[in-house]
Amino acid sequence: MSRRDAGADTAVNRLPVIVGVGMTKFAAERLDASARDLMAEAVLALLADAGMSDLKAVQHGLCSYESDHFNKQMTLAAILHDTLGLIPTPTVRVEGGGATGALALRTAWAYVQSGLCDSILVYGCETNGRGVSSQTANQLFALSADFDWEMMIGGTYTGFYAAMMRAHMHRYGTTPDQFAHVAARNRRNAGFNPLAQKPMDLTIDDVLASRMVADPYRLLDCSLLSDGAAAVLLATEDWARAHSPRFRTRPTVAYVATGCGTDTMRLGDRYPEMTNFRAKQAAAEQSYRMAGIRTPLEEIDVAELYDSYSGVEIQAVEDLGFVPHGQGGAAIAGGLFDLGGALPVNTSGGLLGRGAPVGATGIAQAIEIALQLWGEADSRRQVPNARRGLTDTHAGIATISVVNIFERRD
């Protein structure tokens, strides 16, 4: 078996299912809550969702947070594990930049598949909100660029993403009104999600009139800084039936496939590929093979895409194989990915509207897909009869990229 086929033959009865989900409302500032307060809120919401009264039967913890700097705390994972009363169960922390939450779920997938545990609580949080000034936030994010070569010259992630979009515009003719469509649509979808941070009713002209941040990206093309937490309980189907009364009354949602790809840290080292995300293409290819997907646009019903900047969604629909390279802008502007379109994306509001507390982001994306597949999303954003959903999450400028796929099984 080749390295890429790993996982294809794993026993079906160990395929992880989603037992329950919980998250806080994402917020620009939760002045009343520390990271541990947020995490506790999300996990109590998860218990209520799963119809469970405690975590005593849960066999493993997995903590997802990105930044010791934003949280002003190293070994936060140990503190959260303690806060949640998970001691003395085993634990592990997973960190993968912006992809942290999705990489945490992928790790938990392997822990369950391997037989290391039958149930694992994946919990993530971050305090990226107004606890730091926006300048400090930019400096801390820039610190996750290559220190001597990118951060010290005055580079920022907004600038790196903007340079990629500039190359995409140059090569394919992509236009600012096409990515403004994403900025407006995702914030409109956020209005249908009570846990979203910043719903807005915007026109494309509103986006194009907002102030320039890093040309071609304007203020309203940029995603949010958030405080928040999210948690998902994964388990074998047998464990879920035995421990969650709610699981037995819902359609089963299985976590069927996962893929992960990587790329160089620095954008310039990717030359001549400057327009798109190779790591995302690799992650998608692996996950599609594992899930048996050949025509993703037809076979996927709903997706949460990593819209850290509006134009990144254009790159994503190309790299995930929904449309050919160079056609993402026109497809998006034509409404293909809006509610009611062929493949609605970012029904939660995405990073642009729902918000992005880094360690919780990938987990919140999976929660949206679970709600969609259970048929429990707000009726204004529910995709009718959604049976298969995808999450796309990445770190840096897709330096690490993770694609996870979930299916309703009934």
């Binding site: 002045l31 820039a142 001597d148 070569w149 580079g155 340079a163 500039r166 400057m274």
Partner: protein, 170 residues
């Protein structure tokens, strides 16, 4: 290391009837700063910065695969073998760029920049990768494909990467 600079007024956040957290709704917040000091080694990159002071731009070349990396890579990631230094002329072509309208103020050199400033990815003649740096030019003049060259700076600068930047070719 941690300096608590002030204490904010105590706030009581709203809670409805039957709030299970009613006893925990008074909130106190502090403002503080954390400062750390490091000795930062430039390691095997050091010679790049030492030569930059002499107004020479070095890249690395791998003997096995021929790849020329700027910024340098002491270890070729293709071949996992040590590379060697080669000097480039400093002329190149803008492959992509962004115009930044805010400065993150990451160090004193960056804090001194006037906005907007141009972050350019330049394919230096003879290199296989793009070198990112400031392009000191009017943003409106910058285009993909324009020819630029390295301008060397007589210090003092804070971080030695600012001993150079790009300017339009005459």
């Amino acid at each position: 290391m941690a300096e608590v600079t002030s204490r904010k007024d105590i706030q009581t956040v709203s809670s409805g009837d039957g709030d299970p957290w009613a006893a925990f709704r008074q909130i106190e917040r502090l403002t503080l700063s954390l400062t750390q000091h490091y000795t930062h080694t430039l390691g095997k990159y050091s010679r790049f910065f030492i030569e930059l002071e002499q107004k020479r731009f070095l890249a690395t070349r791998c003997e096995s695969c021929g790849r020329v990396c700027a910024p340098p890579r002491p270890l070729c990631p293709n071949c996992l073998q040590p590379t060697h230094w080669v000097e480039l002329t400093g002329a190149g072509t803008v492959e992509t760029y962004s115009v930044l309208h805010f400065s993150p103020g990451s160090n004193a050199d960056v804090a001194a920049l006037t906005t907007p400033y141009v972050l350019a990815y330049v394919l230096l003649d003879g290199a296989s990768t793009l070198f990112p740096h400031l392009l000191r030019a009017e943003p409106e003049q910058v285009t993909i494909g324009m020819r630029v060259r390295i301008a060397y700076v007589d210090g003092p600068v804070e971080h030695p990467i600012h001993l150079m930047h790009f300017i339009p070719m005459e």
